[in-house]
């Protein structure tokens, strides 16, 4: 992967957005909505949220929407006519996501192209470009560097922008998709200087070694006391899974009347009490401590074992949104302290 370094002048974002829109791209960027920040469709960089560490919801909705139709069906006498989803996803640019968010798309992709090829996901991903912005600030909830990421990490982005002291951006053009975007507005991208980006990046100290954590987790599966004490205050709401960029669980629901219906796929959470309820009535994860254990094991043990990806990018959203203050990083560090 040959990363091309360029400079994007500080006042050219408006022009860049204009060129992207002119080329038929939908632009999703962080927008302030009351006390929260969501990725929404924008026309101008002026609409973007300013001065924040991280958005509330992640950008995963761009490739894995909160609710989407999989197919439609109609009853014709005793026959059922099925119509697969045919719409083509709109070419999209996600602008202003963090390096941790950019890294999460590969995690999602590993699940959606594992044994079954999810064509809806794949076509969305193929039509989405990521222009990330590196992190000048972090807070106590961030732990990207503990899970293989970093505030200026290029992995997963098509273009990574780092704001330099001058206000201009260092633009690292990482992939062919990134090169294609540059080619839409080549006049906006000048030659890069020798200036290194490191001094403009937040310092995020590594809090644990991921391989060591996996070893601890393997040893502690049956440590029921640990999982119970960690999860006593958990309310069992789904918030953590819904704000997470790397969570993939979904529910499939049919909504129909006597003439036909639609099959929907929508977000779900393993933290919810009925997530593993069988039709027999048995629920293998009937108490919250089992569900908490599952969440941690899935992200930090099963996914790395099965698909070679840690299903967490250390963005900290789960901990910021948790109304019971579960704080994932704190729990992981506690697990690191076990024998």
């Amino acid at each position: 992967m040959n990363i091309e370094k360029k400079v994007l002048k500080k006042d050219s974002l408006e022009a860049l957005f204009s060129k992207l829109k002119g080329a038929g791209r939908r632009i999703l960027a962080p927008v302030q909505k009351a006390g929260e920040i969501f990725f929404e469709e924008v026309n101008s960089p002026k609409e973007m949220a300013k001065d924040y560490i991280q958005t509330t919801l992640s950008a995963r909705g761009a490739v894995f929407p909160r609710c989407e139709a999989l197919l439609k069906y109609e009853f014709e006498g005793k026959e059922v006519k099925v119509e697969d989803r045919k719409d083509a996803p709109k070419p999209t640019v996600v602008f202003g996501l963090r390096p941790c968010d950019a890294a999460s798309f590969a995690v999602l992709n590993s699940v959606f192209t594992w044994d079954y090829q999810d064509e809806l996901f794949k076509s969305r991903l193929a039509n989405t470009a990521l222009i990330s912005v590196s992190c000048a600030k972090s807070d106590e909830y961030c732990f990207c560097t503990s899970v293989g990421g970093g505030p200026g990490e290029t992995k997963g982005s098509d273009i990574l922008l780092t704001e330099l002291g001058s206000g201009d951006y260092l633009a690292e053009v990482i992939t062919d998709k990134g090169k294609e975007i540059v080619s839409l507005a080549p006049e906006l991208f000048g030659p890069a200087t020798d200036e290194a980006k490191e001094k403009y990046l937040a310092k995020v100290a590594r809090q644990f070694d991921i391989k060591e954590l996996q070893g601890k987790l393997a040893k502690n599966f049956d440590n029921t006391e640990l999982w119970l004490s960690q999860s006593l205050r958990c309310l069992g709401c789904g918030a953590c899974a819904y704000v997470c960029p790397a969570c993939v669980c979904f529910d499939i629901q049919d909504e129909a009347n006597r003439s036909g219906g639609v099959r929907l796929r929508c977000w779900d959470s393993c933290g919810l009490s009925l997530f593993t309820l069988h039709t027999s009535g048995h629920n293998p994860r009937s108490v919250q401590s089992q569900r908490w254990r599952q969440r941690v094991m899935h992200k930090f043990s099963y996914m790395p074992d099965r698909l070679n990806y840690v299903a967490c990018v250390g963005c900290g959203r789960c901990s910021r949104s948790c109304s019971a203050d579960m704080n994932l990083l704190e729990h992981l560090k506690e697990i690191m302290e076990t024998k």
């Binding site: 909505k33 009351a34 006390g35 929260e36 969501f38 509330t56 919801l57 909160r66 609710c67 807070d139 106590e140 909830y141 119970l228 004490s229 999860s231 006593l232 205050r233 309310l235 069992g236 709401c237 789904g238 918030a239 899974a241 819904y242 704000v243 529910d251 629901q253 909504e255 929907l264 929508c266 977000w267 959470s269 919810l272 009925l274 108490v287 919250q288 401590s289 901990s319 910021r320 949104s321 109304s323 019971a324 203050d325 704080n327 704190e330």
Partner: protein, 267 residues
């Protein structure tokens, strides 16, 4: 705080209770729920103005209940919740030890429901000026404006059910949303699914919600849920002169029939 810690440690070391539910230092300068099971753990309990989570939500959680007899640190919203739970036959007198905390932050001995009722009778239920202004703004809107306002708010909903999980009065082990024969409320987070969920939850809480605000605090996408519940609570008070969380025995306004109830709206 010191009095509370001492009392908690005493209750644990004497074996009177097996767990004291209170608050401890959390992350980001916040506090979090704590479950002290030994006098050492009781020494870490804190109680200040940051401690706003309604701890009564843990009274119905099975893994908390299975620890044994519970003592709970109870500020005014928790006390109201305890009375409402009692009125709904979810708590028996003496089942839990209540460590009352007055609005001034003092530990108050409240040995039974009657003591809680008497204590709360001296603390009038009042809306803050911000809450009054918010309700006025809502009431000034036309029906259409109000519908649009709530549509816009509920469009953010992702159906995480944090509002339900955080609410101590949403204790149903089999929530209406979990029934799929028939699927009363659409699971999906689309316009209809979101409206139906929030309307039904608000209706199920009408006259029962004590206004702790935890639903709104728990919502990850910032929907003003407490406003909706508060509006309905005011409607109940206007029409029936009753409020939730006032007495351990209650004739629930929306669940009680009296022969003198008016029937002139039945056509």
């Amino acid at each position: 705080m010191e009095e509370l810690r001492k009392k908690a440690a005493e209750l644990l070391s004497s074996g009177t209770v097996k767990v004291v539910i209170g608050f401890a230092q959390g992350s980001g300068g916040k506090t979090r729920a704590a479950f002290a099971q030994t006098p050492d753990q009781a020494a870490k309990l804190i109680c200040d103005e940051r401690c706003v989570q309604n701890l009564a939500v843990y009274l119905s959680k099975s893994e908390v209940k299975s620890l044994g007899k519970i003592a709970v640190v109870a500020k005014v919203p928790v006390l109201r919740t305890i009375l409402q739970l009692a009125a709904e036959n979810q708590l028996k007198d003496g089942e839990i030890v209540v460590l009352g905390i007055s609005p001034e932050g003092k530990l108050v001995e409240l040995p039974d429901f009657k003591a809680i009722e008497d204590f709360l009778a001296k603390i009038p239920y009042e809306l803050t000026p911000e809450q009054k202004a918010e309700l006025e703004k809502l009431e000034k809107m036309s029906v259409e404006e109000r519908w649009n306002y709530w549509q816009e708010q509920f469009a953010k909903c992702v159906k995480c059910y944090a509002c339900r999980a955080a609410c101590p009065l949403c204790y149903c082990e089999s929530c209406l949303t979990q029934c799929n024969q028939p699927q009363w409320i659409p699971v999906a987070p689309h316009q209809v699914g979101n409206m139906e969920w929030h309307i039904v939850r608000a209706m199920h809480l009408t006259g029962r919600c004590i206004g702790c605000g935890d639903c709104e605090r728990a919502c990850p996408v910032g929907i003003p849920l407490s406003l909706l519940n508060r509006k309905l609570a005011e409607e109940v008070f206007k029409n029936f002169k009753t409020r939730a969380g006032v007495a351990a025995k209650e004739e629930y306004a929306l669940g009680t029939f009296k022969p003198e109830d008016k029937e002139n709206f039945i056509k």
